[in-house]
């Protein structure tokens, strides 16, 4: 078996008077699709945020590609390990502002062609590129946010209930994108209650009360 892309050992997150995560240990193989389930408030999103370095664990170790997660430069790491929020917030004025951002932060020439291709991949029209973000529906916003993470293909995609609240058509479009990326060898860790995603996954981890309950 290939060396794990993630190795977590006794990872915990304590905040004043509360333990959000405790003794979390598991590994994720490259290209694996892992889902994380469990009741709301159990620590699923916290775990994803820890993997994304958006939250620093207070105990335990996380290895990414054989190196301590903490040793990576944060911006480089986050461009490889991309975190998608449950209720994303688009910024700026238009869809263009959002899709230009990944180019801008990498100091790469902005390619509208790549932007429109990305829009097409989630079944959004090219004309949407210059639409104000206030005109977009919830499903459209979620898809724009998703392709904002995918314009420069990451190595790991962390999905935090991104299909929750989407209509059936949008959900299917997002599922297709996810399945396609997984086929291309992208590692995915998704917090989800969605049956299609659960069925597509290689493994389900369950978190209850901040602890790993079942590893199937």
């Amino acid at each position: 078996m290939a060396e794990p892309i993630f190795t977590l050992h006794n990872v915990g997150v304590d905040v004043p008077e509360r333990t959000l995560l405790a003794d979390i240990s598991f590994t994720v193989a490259p290209g694996e699709f892992v889902t994380i389930g469990g009741p709301s408030g159990s620590g699923k999103s916290t775990l994803l945020r820890v993997l994304a370095t958006l939250l620093t664990p207070t105990s335990g170790t996380i290895m990414y590609n054989g190196q301590p997660q903490a040793s990576y430069e944060k911006t480089a790491y986050r461009r490889e390990v991309s975190y998608c929020y449950q209720q994303p917030s688009l910024f700026g004025e238009t869809v263009w502002d959002n899709l230009a951002f990944p180019f801008q932060i990498r100091h790469v020439d902005i390619s509208e062609e790549r932007m429109t291709q990305a829009l097409a991949s989630v079944q959004l029209p090219a004309a949407m590129l210059h639409q104000p973000i206030t005109d977009l529906s919830g499903g459209e916003k979620q898809r724009v946010a998703l392709i904002r993470n995918l314009l420069f293909t990451p190595k790991v995609l962390l999905l935090d209930e991104i299909t929750t609240g989407l209509d059936a058509v949008t959900k299917e479009a997002v599922h297709d994108v996810i399945a396609n990326l997984n086929r291309q060898g992208l590692t995915m860790i998704a917090v989800t209650h969605d049956e299609v995603e659960l069925a597509a996954a290689d493994r389900l981890l369950t978190i209850e009360d901040g602890r790993l309950a079942v590893a199937v």
Partner: protein
């Protein structure tokens, strides 16, 4: 020229004007009575002390004493700006640096251009004007930064999660904060002479100076304040935005 003298009796009558404000505050239950009284007492004490100090400094006319007075003004302005920072770490040091730079650069340019002379009667009041405007601008910029980092938290978090640096994450916030800090100066520059007759010009006219000459000075002051507030709020914002992030490039909360 008419001799300008405010007698103690005239000042006492002026206190009656404060009484009007007090009565309104009491009747309307605004709750500002304590602040009004403290304000009046402080104004009387501070201005009296400053009056004697200025008289002495102008009489002695020593560079080091003039600079000391400027330093005290700048320190006080920085301390006040810090008070508006709502917990931004190192706000005093940042404000001090920003106000010192804004005041220093503006004064040096004005002296080099020959617009003012390096004498206490000109340097001290001009420094006070610059430092107080820079202080207000920086205070507004801090408040704008704080509220943006609070209100736009989700969008900022998303920029971070996409792999943006501190600068790439915060630049839009920084620009808006600088705009907010500068807006009173720009607004007053637009309406100067139409709405307000600013203090310096009014004072000169009051003292009998030809209005056209007073206006020349006012134009200089207007430009000087634009330079000082833009310099002050830009330096303060660029130094302060980093304080909203921790060492792990995550958003800090300190409100």
């Amino acid at each position: 020229m008419t001799q300008l003298v405010v007698t103690p009796t005239a000042l006492l009558f002026a206190v009656a004007l404060v009484a009007i404000a007090l009565v309104i505050s009491l009747k309307e239950k605004i709750g500002l009575e304590k602040d009004l009284i403290v304000g009046v007492i402080r104004a009387v004490i501070q201005l009296t002390v400053v009056g004697y100090v200025l008289t002495y400094i102008i009489k002695v006319n020593q560079h080091w004493l003039t600079l000391l007075m400027v330093a005290i003004i700048v320190l006080n302005a920085a301390w006040n700006a810090r008070g508006r920072a709502q917990g931004i770490p190192h706000a005093f040091a940042i404000s001090l640096l920003a106000i010192t730079a804004a005041t220093g650069v503006t004064i040096v340019l004005l002296v080099l251009a020959g617009a003012i002379a390096f004498v206490p009667s000109q340097i001290v009041p001009i420094s006070g004007m610059i430092a107080s405007n820079a202080m207000v601008a920086i205070g507004l910029a801090y408040r704008s930064m704080n509220s943006q980092f609070h209100d736009q938290r989700q969008a900022l978090l998303e920029r971070l999660s996409l792999g943006a640096t501190k600068y790439q994450t915060a630049i839009a916030v920084v620009r808006e904060a600088i705009r907010t800090g500068m807006s009173p100066t720009i607004d007053s520059a637009k309406t100067v002479g139409l709405v307000s007759l600013p203090g310096m010009m009014s004072g000169l006219i009051f003292a009998g100076v030809d209005p056209t000459k007073a206006i020349m000075y006012q134009i200089m002051v207007t430009f000087m304040l634009m330079a000082a507030t833009s310099l002050g709020s830009t330096i303060a914002c660029y130094l302060a935005y980093g304080q909203f992030f921790n060492a792990d490039l995550q958003l800090r909360t300190f409100r």
